[in-house]
Symmetry: C2
Subunit: 342 residues, 2 copies
DNA sequence: GGATTTGTGTAGATCGGTCTACGTTTGTCT
DNA sequence: AGACAAACGTAGACCGATCTACACAAATCC
C-alpha cells in the first residue's frame, strides 16, 4: 500500500526551481516583474511537481477564484439552465462556480449568503432572491453581486432580467388575438414582494396589457406563490369557481405554477385548451413534452446566465457603476392556447 | 455614506473577552478544556461583536465545514432531490453544502473534483460519476467520499444506491403480469460503463427478470445514453422498426430517457399505452404530470441523500471501513402501462 | 559620467484561524 | 502532607498562499 503522496506547495516549487516563493506566486498570478527565463523555469517545475495552487490558501489574502451561485429552488429547471450559462463563462476565466441551495425563507437565504461570504467567494450571483432591495444594496457594498431575475435600478449591484412587461404583453396579446377577453393571471402574491421582482413586474405588465386592450374589467389576480404546490391550489380554486366566473384563459406567471394549475384543472375534468387556455413563462424542459405542450415565454436562460457571469467578473475586476440588462422574451406557441370555445 | 465596518476576527473577540485567541478557538470548536465561566464570557463577546468565524481560514488547518456535491446533470431533477436530502442532514451538523456541476466528460469531472479538493472540502458526495472504480478508490484515499448511485463493493468509499436488480424486476414483473412478453429496455451503453453503475446493474436485473419469466428470447437492449436527447433517438429508432419487430412494452432505464422515448413515439403516432407500454425509473416530478402519468420506480431520493450525508459525516469523523447501503425501490403504476392490445 | 528610471527578484509580514506543548491551578488519593 | 492527576488557559508555530517594501542590476537621460 503506497503512502499517500503529499501534495506540492508553493515552497516546494520555489525550492525546485531555485527561486523565491514570491517569484512563484508572481508567475501564478501573471503579475508584473517576471522575466521570460524565470517564467519558463518556474512553469517547468510546476508541471514536474504536478503542482496545483491551493485555492483555499490563495483566498486568505487574494482571490479565491470562486463564484457563488445562490438558488432557492433547484428543482426549477430554469434555474439550473441559468447556472450552466454562468459556469461556462466563469470557467473560461479560471473561476470555479459553486452552487448553494437555500431552504425556503428569508432566514435560510441570509445564512447561505453568509456562508458563501465566510468562504471568501469573490462574487455572488443571486437567482431570484427574496427580501427587500435595501438588503441587497447593503450586500452589494460588501461583495460583488449580480441579481438574476430582479429588475433594476439598483446602485450597488447589477441585474439581469427578462423584460417581464414585454413578456406579459406577449401572452395577453396572443390570447386576445385568439379571441379571449376573460384572461386571469396566477399572480405571485408573496408577502415580501418588492418592486423589481419578476412577480411584481409580470403582474404589472399583465395589468397594462389588459388595459391596453380595454379589458380592465376582467383583470383578475389568482393569489398564490410560484411553485408546483401553489399552482395546484390555484388550479383547484379556479376549478371550484362557478362556470360563469371562470376565465377562458390563464396567464400562468411561471411554468412551474402553470403546470401545477394544468394538473389540477385536468384532474377536475377541465380540458386544456378546449375549456381553458394556459400560457406559462420560462420555457422549462417539461413544457415541451408533447402530450402537454405548454405554450410559454422563453427567456433564453443560458444567455442570461452568461450575461450575469460577465457582469460579475467585470465587477470583480473593479467596475463600480451598476449595469442593468434586460433580455427580450419570445413567445412559444404550443398546444395549450387556442380560441375560446364559447 | 457610512464606511463598511470591518468584520470581527478571533483576535477581536479574544481581546474583548480578555482571553487568548486559543481559548476562543476552543470555544468555537467545542474542544476540551473550557470552563463554563469562560465559555459564557467568550460567547457573550462573540454575539456582542457579531462574530462569525471565517470558514476559509478555519480550513487552513482544521475543517472547512464544507461538503462538496458533485453532479453531472443539474437538469435531472432526481439529482436535485438527492442534493436536498444531503443538505438537510449536513446543515443540522453545521456543515455547508456546495454543489458543483461538471460539463460532460471524464476530464471535466476530474477538474471539478480537483477544484473541490483545492478548496479543502471536508468530504465529497459524487452523484452518478463516470469513470472506472479504480479512480474512485484512489480518490477515496485522499478525501472522504460517498458515491451516490453506484453499487458497492468498494474499499475506500461508501456507496448508496437503489437496489437496481430489484427495481428492474419490479418493472418486468409488472409488465409480465399485464400480459407482456416482448419487453425491450433502453440500455445505457456508455462506453465507459463499469460494474456497479446503475446502467449496468439495471440492465443485468432486466436480463435476470426476463430469464426468470422464460422470456430470454425477447431480451433486447436499445442502445443509447440516459438523457432526454438520447431517449428521443431511441424512441425514433423504435418507431422506425417494422411493426412485427416492435416490443409491446419498454423498460425506460431512467425517467429522462423514458420521457424522451415517449415524446418520439408520441410524435410518430404511436399511442401510449395502447400501442406500447413504458415504465421509467426515478420518479422525477415531470412523470407525475397527469396527461403523461409515466409509470415508474421510486427511489425516495431525499432518503438516499440523507443516508449519503450521514455516511459522509461519519467518515469525516474517522470511520474507515466502507459501508454500502441499498435502498429498496417501489413501483408506481400510473397511466403508461396497460395490457397489450394484441 | 553621474543621476534617474526601469526591470527583476527577494525577504518577511500578513491573512484568520487551529494545534501542540507547556505552565499553573485545583482536586484526589494514600 | 506530599504525590500525582485532571482541568484550564496561554504562547507561539503553523497552514499556503499574497502583498508590500526594498535591494540590485541594467538601461536611459541630460
Amino acid at each position: 500500500m503506497t503512502e499517500q503522496l503529499k501534495r506540492a506547495t508553493i515552497s516546494d516549487v520555489a525550492e525546485h526551481a531555485g527561486v523565491s516563493r514570491a517569484a512563484v506566486s508572481k508567475v501564478l498570478r501573471n503579475a508584473y516583474g517576471v522575466s521570460p527565463a524565470m517564467r519558463t523555469k518556474v512553469e517547468e517545475s510546476m508541471t514536474l511537481l504536478n503542482y496545483r495552487p491551493l485555492a483555499l490558501a490563495r483566498g486568505m489574502r487574494g482571490n479565491s477564484y470562486t463564484l457563488g451561485v445562490f438558488l432557492v429552488d433547484l428543482s426549477n429547471t430554469f434555474f439550473s439552465v441559468l447556472a450552466e450559462g454562468i459556469r461556462d463563462v466563469a470557467e473560461e476565466l479560471g473561476y470555479q462556480v459553486l452552487i448553494g441551495q437555500a431552504r425556503q425563507g428569508l432566514d435560510a437565504q441570509q445564512k447561505l449568503i453568509e456562508a458563501m461570504i465566510d468562504r471568501r467567494m469573490d462574487g455572488l450571483v443571486l437567482i431570484a432572491p427574496f427580501g427587500p432591495n435595501d438588503e441587497l444594496e447593503k450586500l452589494g457594498r460588501t461583495i460583488p453581486v449580480v441579481v438574476l431575475g430582479r429588475h433594476g435600478p439598483a446602485k450597488y449591484f447589477d441585474t439581469v432580467a427578462s423584460d417581464d412587461i414585454a413578456g406579459s404583453a406577449l401572452i395577453v396579446d396572443h390570447l386576445v388575438s385568439l379571441g379571449h377577453e376573460r384572461i386571469s393571471m396566477l399572480a405571485n402574491t408573496q408577502p415580501d414582494s418588492e418592486p423589481g421582482m419578476p412577480q411584481t413586474v409580470r403582474r404589472h405588465g399583465y395589468d397594462l396589457a389588459m388595459e391596453k386592450h380595454g379589458l380592465s374589467q376582467w383583470i383578475d389576480h389568482v393569489p398564490g406563490r410560484w411553485g408546483t404546490e401553489s399552482g395546484l391550489e390555484a388550479g383547484r380554486s379556479l376549478a371550484a369557481r362557478p362556470l360563469a366566473q371562470r376565465p377562458s384563459a390563464l396567464h400562468g406567471g411561471a411554468d412551474v405554477a402553470a403546470l401545477g394549475a394544468y394538473t389540477a384543472l385536468f384532474e377536475a375534468g377541465i380540458h386544456i385548451p378546449d375549456d381553458m387556455s394556459i400560457v406559462g413563462y420560462d420555457n422549462i424542459p417539461a413544457t415541451g413534452l408533447p402530450p402537454i405542450g405548454l405554450s410559454t415565454v422563453d427567456q433564453s436562460g443560458v444567455q442570461m446566465g452568461r450575461q450575469a457571469a460577465e457582469l460579475l467578473l467585470s465587477r470583480i475586476e473593479g467596475r463600480t457603476e451598476s449595469e442593468h440588462v434586460l433580455v427580450s422574451p419570445r413567445l412559444i406557441v404550443r398546444k395549450t392556447s387556442a380560441p375560446p370555445r364559447r
